[in-house]
Symmetry: C2
Subunit: 398 residues, 2 copies
Amino acid sequence: MKFSERINCCSQSPMRKFHSDAELAKSRGIKIYQLNIGQPDILTPQSYFEVICNSIQPTLAYAPSPGIPALVSKMIRYYKELGVDYTPDDVLITAGGSEALSILMNCILDPGSEVIIPEPFYPNYHAFIETAGGVIRPLSTKVEEGYAYADKDKLETLINPNTRAILFTNPGNPTGVVLSEPQMRVIADVAKEHGLFVIGDEVYREFVYGGEQLLTIGMYEDIAENAVVIDSVSKRFSACGARIGALITKNKELRKNALKLCQSRLSVATQNQIAAAALYDLKQDYFSDARNEYKLRRDTIYRRLLAMSGVVCSEPKGAFYVMAKLPVDNTDTFQKWLLTDFQFNGATIMVAPGAGFYATPGMGMDEVRLAYVLCVEEIETAMDVLEAGMKVYNQNQN
Amino acid sequence: MKFSERINCCSQSPMRKFHSDAELAKSRGIKIYQLNIGQPDILTPQSYFEVICNSIQPTLAYAPSPGIPALVSKMIRYYKELGVDYTPDDVLITAGGSEALSILMNCILDPGSEVIIPEPFYPNYHAFIETAGGVIRPLSTKVEEGYAYADKDKLETLINPNTRAILFTNPGNPTGVVLSEPQMRVIADVAKEHGLFVIGDEVYREFVYGGEQLLTIGMYEDIAENAVVIDSVSKRFSACGARIGALITKNKELRKNALKLCQSRLSVATQNQIAAAALYDLKQDYFSDARNEYKLRRDTIYRRLLAMSGVVCSEPKGAFYVMAKLPVDNTDTFQKWLLTDFQFNGATIMVAPGAGFYATPGMGMDEVRLAYVLCVEEIETAMDVLEAGMKVYNQNQN
């Protein structure tokens, strides 16, 4: 039996590739501080569970393929508060932001089509783009330049007849970069001028720590046909396991095409949509509490990383990740060693090695992404482990 | 902006294309008997909802990408009762059978790869196969031959170097065909001899009305590497809105590749998996009650269709669909007319026009699929409406 070329090329997630080494370390009694995966520990609002319990139906039927109207209208209200007017025809509910991306890429990519993405980027973009036959055209950025990417010249250099879209994560995963309005406008203008889709993966929108205004690529009326917003309740409401997201666009033809794929998979889970709608009734202080907690964590991890000899990193402004250059030769080897040969006071640490966040071969070998999803005390201890680990690892190497 | 060629080619679901005409008819006060969609009205077991309510977690986290171990082990126990031994490494939990098919096709199809499917077939196979770049190679069957397809010669005629798989729905949607064990063995042998995947979409397994043994393509040890089972709780437990399915195979390389895509979309909804596990604890009489009810409906609709002048149909042995040839020129036009220009005692009927179930152009124009998902009394009335409709429609045509 044959397998598809693209699945043979698809590599394992850098966040999950050391799972079996981690299991072995745990079986030896070692505590592992997991900074490799963006699974927040913030409590899910109880209203989600209450509504699930109250949404019992005699027959648990398929939801409408585009999504349950109550959830769609709550999302529209949410965007109205951000200053963007959507109608129910602009929103398709999906199984997380992941499904929204997968449906979108199948609508807009032919074999060989290109999507420009600033690198480092969220590694699962590979699967969504490559299963649709597309290719990632990376816009390389550097830690020394704060991973900046909103640059007209840099973007235009990458555009060719195969280019279909520019995709960016804002606030950024893995970099924590948050676009200013003028920066977002730069990207919007390039998309407009070249007739490209511009895709904002904005699932971390609320997670900004410098008092920035909450922005969305959907706010520019002059690129309403180009703009696509990927959204999700996973991070916003700490409800990753609900698997509720959305594909939002005013482009009627994109909507019509995406709906075909929504119909082909029938629907998104019914009760989960009903309960997700209730999340949008939470008061603003829900967000400010979560934001304050993450800001403390961000400050802690950034302070600790800066203080480590040889570590280079740029202050993350949003999301809950920080990318750091470590003074080790290869962070893949280093991570494996941390799990197989190291412990510090009975503990070790998991991070996501950097190479998997780049499309350009050879890049990111000395970088890691750290997800600051643990409480401040645990982050402090995890940083002690990391600092000690680098020291021992480099002594062993020499 | 450009769209992909394959999404432009993707047509609308024949089950859902008359949605707006139906809404207009409803707004005129007309009652519609909906036999177009396979949404069962059987009650969902209460244990599903009870477990959902008891699965409240402080943080609703991602489930493991391959699925929650408790659900996987319940499915393994279920298959053990059918005589098939699986291990946890053979089962991947998916968002319904739909996602299982989508993941599978992305793993096994390159551009131009072919999948042999007996036609008429479930129209959403188009989307799963064509978004993965593949092509459906239909094995044409006829109502006059009971839509039989398990024929070595017919299958082998369609095999060429691009063929990657044989896919069949058993029990059949839309035909209600149920394979005997020797028939299933014929397909297994062809797949084995030609090194093809053989995919059994077996989501209707329990819905057989002649006392047939419950079978699965996974039961043949000599084709363990070829066989893939698509499964779901949607129909089995009348839990369509849970969106829980599975991709089951002993082929380690397929498992490894499919897992990459499972990881890229992170996970299936957490509570839904926990609750679906409880469904597998239901006693056997749950199935026999549902089966008895559907058998009554099958008997009713088949008897009524047979008694209508000019209607040709073959007794469906399983699932909850019947395909019928009607004495009208074009069932698409006829369905539209039923919604826009007809009523019988204030009611009309929706069925799924047949052409959408065929890949061969021009086939199925005078056929419809009827889903017997209404109670016996409603089916009787719906058949009165259909019979009267055909009479008036044909008088108008002459």
